[in-house]
């Protein structure tokens, strides 16, 4: 069976599990591949106008696969951690797709509450049973892919840069190089190293969040808030670069919370939308890198010479 896997949204976080699970079940995996202009254009064309860019791009990925696979994997992801939710657009994703894109193959859209291992396992079984009757095979596929997911190396932590920034934002904005116009490469080229939230022990993240007057119920919010505020407070990086899709509701709150916490610590917000002209993006990154360099020079007690 050919199964269509969308290299978009939470795939960036859980690709090890997804790919291995379907592979072990004996499926042929058809990936939508990296985002490209075609995918962007189709996504914008088929998606409702109000959605954010990553959701639009997801539509484009689906469109690119619709004639190539027997089934398409679009799970309804409700929850990743206990007592938390993720963005509501994920909960309604199968409906959004069904109502916007014509001529779709059957969809695997099982609802996932991943806050317990049982929940995750039940979900995996209900998917597996659509593909095979062999329970042992499903059991095996589940344990192998879960193991691979846990072992998989995620995140970026550059070494040997004098200036380093925390790169924050939703994983699908950080790792989709087409959407973020290759921001990691651009920063590296300006001699700025990058660190992402996966490289910080989750315990530190959770401890930071305790200082908020109320526990955030968005998973993405907890991660980005805890990650950025911890690095800023302990001066483990020189600045924070936050990639945020235009009109993101969660970001609009988290960014304010972060600003409130870190005070005057250097913070650059890069908004991404359909733009593919890079001039505006480059200006902001270059200016930020310049600023960090000058600030560092002052801190190191070397007089700035301009």
């Amino acid at each position: 069976m050919k199964i269509g896997i969308l290299a978009s949204l939470l795939y960036y976080k859980y690709q090890s599990f997804i790919n291995n699970f379907f592979y072990e079940l004996g499926c042929e995996i058809i990936s939508s591949g990296e985002t490209n202009k075609r995918i962007l254009d189709d996504g914008v064309k088929y998606c409702v106008d109000e959605a954010c860019l990553p959701i639009k791009v997801f539509h484009g990925h689906v469109y690119s696969l619709r004639k190539k696979s027997d089934m398409i994997f679009i799970p309804r992801i409700m929850r990743l951690h206990k007592n938390e939710f993720i963005c509501p657009k994920f909960c309604g994703l199968p409906e959004m797709i069904k109502n916007s894109i014509p001529d779709l193959p059957p969809m695997i859209q099982d609802t996932l509450y991943a806050d317990s291992k049982d929940g995750l396992k039940n979900w995996a079984f209900s998917i597996g049973e659509k593909i095979t009757n062999d329970k042992i095979k499903i059991e095996n596929a589940f344990s192998i892919s879960l193991k691979k997911q846990i072992e998989s190396k995620k995140g970026i932590k550059d070494k040997n840069y004098k200036i380093n920034v925390a790169l924050a934002g939703h994983p699908y904005n950080i790792y989709d190089d087409f959407l973020n116009m290759n921001v990691v490469k651009k920063l590296n080229r300006l001699n700025v190293g990058v660190m992402t939230e996966e490289k910080l022990n989750e315990e530190y993240i959770n401890r930071q969040v305790l200082k908020l007057y109320k526990k955030p119920f968005w998973t993405f919010a907890r991660y980005t808030y805890g990650f950025t505020s911890y690095l800023a407070e302990n001066k483990l990086v020189d600045g924070i670069v936050y990639i945020s899709s235009f009109a993101c509701g969660i970001d609009s709150v988290v960014i304010e919370l972060i600003k409130d916490r870190i005070g005057s610590f250097p913070f650059l917000i890069l908004k991404i939308d359909e733009h593919t002209g890079e001039a505006g993006f480059d200006t902001r990154i270059e200016a930020f890198a310049d600023m960090l360099e000058r600030r560092k020079a002052i801190e190191d007690n070397i007089s700035a010479s301009w």
Binding site: H275, G280, A287
Partner: protein
């Protein structure tokens, strides 16, 4: 011995020549009109009659068109607008603590403390709150943008215009017009809307302390200066070459490269006469379908960019 600075912005292209002590000896303010290359050639034609290539010690470029320009004229310093504007302002006055810069597509706030950029912010992907907002409304009202500020100052009781988005502002403005409000009151309202938008978005959370410099093309608008002053409650200074600050900064930054002992990469004023061709094509090497631009001068390719992978641009040996 001159330093040449070029700022290719969305609305205007500014060219300056500075002498050794960074005083402006020549300034050209040209409208870009979407044709950066032709405009630079036009400017160089004017400069060519007065100056010699050998008099140029170093060249700096800035602005959103800085990359294409650096290929065309040969630049020693290619710098972003924030650094360029801050450099130019500090050269005039070391005391400046805040720079409000509003250009055609961008608006910025730069926070300086003791001569270094401590913080900055720019408008996000949306160009509301920038010069193009005023430009558009001026066009609608059929008032030359140069006179816009004077109209605003004539107002006795400004009307409130929604400032969040240029499209919202326009519909609000039309409704107020239809109700019979005076034009100057509407224009003053627009200036106030822009200032409100700037302070609430771009400058949000930033501490604006004196001395404040107001620069960029929009500083020409006296109504905007007045609106800023009434919102902030203190005086806002407009430097003498307010619309040239980016170019001046780029020229000053270029002088640093010469200090390091480098010879200028300047390609000479003669490019004014060259036959420069821009062409673009969609690369079909991969699904990214990059829009690649190539720049040809008298049949020789002098620049190539826009590809993500570097397949085309890396062939260039500039």
């Amino acid at each position: 011995m001159y330093y040449l600075g070029v700022d290719v912005g969305s609305v205007s292209t500014d060219i300056v020549l500075l002498d050794k002590s960074f005083s402006v000896v020549e300034e050209l303010y040209l409208k870009t009109r979407g044709k950066p290359i032709q405009v630079i050639q036009e400017g160089f034609k004017i400069l060519k009659s007065k100056y010699d290539d050998k008099q140029i010690t170093a060249v700096g470029v800035t602005g959103s068109g800085r990359n294409i320009t650096s290929f065309l004229i040969g630049a020693d310093a290619v710098k972003n607008e924030i650094t360029a504007h801050a450099t130019a302002a500090l050269n005039i006055d070391k005391e400046v603590s805040t720079i409000i810069e509003i250009g055609g597509q961008d608006s910025k706030i730069i926070i300086l403390r003791e001569g270094i950029v401590l913080d900055f912010a720019m408008n996000t992907v949306c160009a509301a709150g920038t010069g193009s907002f005023l430009d558009r409304q001026a066009e609608r009202l059929e008032i030359p943008i140069e006179e816009f500020g004077d109209y605003a100052l004539k107002s006795t009781s400004p009307v409130r215009i929604a400032g969040r988005c240029a499209v919202f502002a326009e519909s609000d403005m039309i409704h107020k017009q239809q109700l019979g409000y005076k034009q100057e009151d509407i224009i003053r309202g627009l200036c106030e809307a822009l200032v409100r938008n700037y302070l609430n978005n771009v400058a949000k959370g930033k501490e604006i302390i004196q001395k404040v410099f107001f620069q960029g093309g929009v500083a020409a608008n006296r109504g905007m200066k007045a609106a800023f002053e009434s919102a902030l409650g203190f005086e806002v200074y407009i430097p003498p070459h307010y619309n040239m600050m980016g170019a001046i900064g780029a020229a000053i930054l270029s002088s640093e490269t010469v200090k390091k002992g480098e010879v200028t990469k300047f390609r000479g004023f003669n490019i004014a006469q060259s036959n420069v061709l821009q062409s673009s094509f969609e690369c079909d090497g991969c699904p990214n379908r990059c829009e690649v631009v190539t720049l040809e001068e008298n049949g020789n390719t002098i620049g190539c960019f826009g590809d993500r992978c570097g397949k085309h641009s890396s062939k260039m040996t500039v």
